[in-house]
Symmetry: C2
DNA sequence: CGAAATAGAACCGATATGGTTCCATTTCAA
DNA sequence: TTGAAATGGAACCATATCGGTTCTATTTCG
């Protein structure tokens, strides 16, 4: 049902935790504890994120993980793609793999691409910083433009995400 | 990887086929054939769609399925929800079920709700009619307003989908 | 009556997912 | 020098979910 894998789910939780202290490097163990996740799972996720260059890791006795970039410059889409592979609603949109099997007669494929792109952009339009900030219920959108980094205001795909305002 | 189930995938294909002749009722057998799907699978899907009141069915010898409403008034989101249940990225957003397990310490949940709503709206903003129409590569967005039916232009959730233009 | 269709449910096998375990490597400090 | 604390990387497993089929009951009409 269009659900996110738990890997990504937890991954984002861990990243938001790290975003609260972008400077310090925290070891997986404390991240696990603070996030109520099993150390094993946590390790797995952090390793994947590090391999995707979203985290930098320090080995050895006082090691740990820290964000590789400022939280304003990391998008939710990046995290998801690092953990779950490319965002592709239908199998026929996935670059690799075999496809959905009915490409030949499918009347909807090109439109699928647009929709897929639209939600990709939606995810790419939310930064880790926004995710980490407590929900602010006051005032208009915090102006800001960081998210523009990855989400063009008006992409050529059709669907356009314009703003992530305050609740 | 945020993928759509095949049920929904095929379901939309079948619906778009029906949208080409909104008046006539077609039997499952011909829908299956024209869409290159197994009759069994096709039957299953159509039954679900009928139960969700997206299709009307006629039993008996000259029976078949037809759209319950004009294709302009059926959204992709409706089809997906009919076949795969509510759209909920993370398990903790799903009304039923147990949740993701870390609700207590999760710093991201309220933001998840917004994102989830945003992509829900994205899906609800595309009508079956738009999906069925061949991709038009010319001219600006076909103006149109049908999609407004289900997708408020500026929802309170934050992320706003404004337009599904032409490619 | 019987063929043609849908309604509904049960059933089954494969795959992906969530999660663990094990071992190798790096680093630092006692 | 040695070992504890950390990450790197991979294999492994159990189970839920998903894609798909099969079977039976019911409706409709010729
Ligand atoms: S859904 Fe895969 S080609 Fe149309
Ligand atoms: S992801 Fe489930 S509560 Fe945060």
């Amino acid at each position: 049902m269009i659900r996110l894998s738990r890997l990504s789910d937890y991954g984002i939780v861990l990243m938001t935790r790290l975003a609260r202290e972008p400077a310090r490097a925290l070891p997986a163990s404390v991240l696990a504890q603070e996030s109520a996740l099993s150390p094993a799972m946590t390790g797995k996720i952090l390793k994947l994120l590090a391999r995707a260059d979203l985290l930098v890791s320090q080995r050895g006795v006082h090691g740990g993980y820290a964000l590789a970039r400022a939280p304003e410059r990391i998008t939710i889409a990046e995290i998801i793609e690092a953990l779950d592979g490319p965002i592709a609603l239908t199998s026929c949109l996935r670059p690799t793999a075999e496809g959905c099997g009915i490409e030949s007669v499918c009347p909807a494929r090109t439109n699928w691409q647009r929709i897929n792109q639209a939600i990709r952009d939606a995810l790419a339009g939310v930064t880790l910083a926004e995710m980490a900030s407590p929900p602010r219920n006051f005032g208009p959108a915090p102006s800001a433009s960081p998210r523009r980094a990855a989400a063009p205001a008006r992409d050529p795909a059709g669907l356009v995400i314009t703003s992530l305002g305050a609740k």
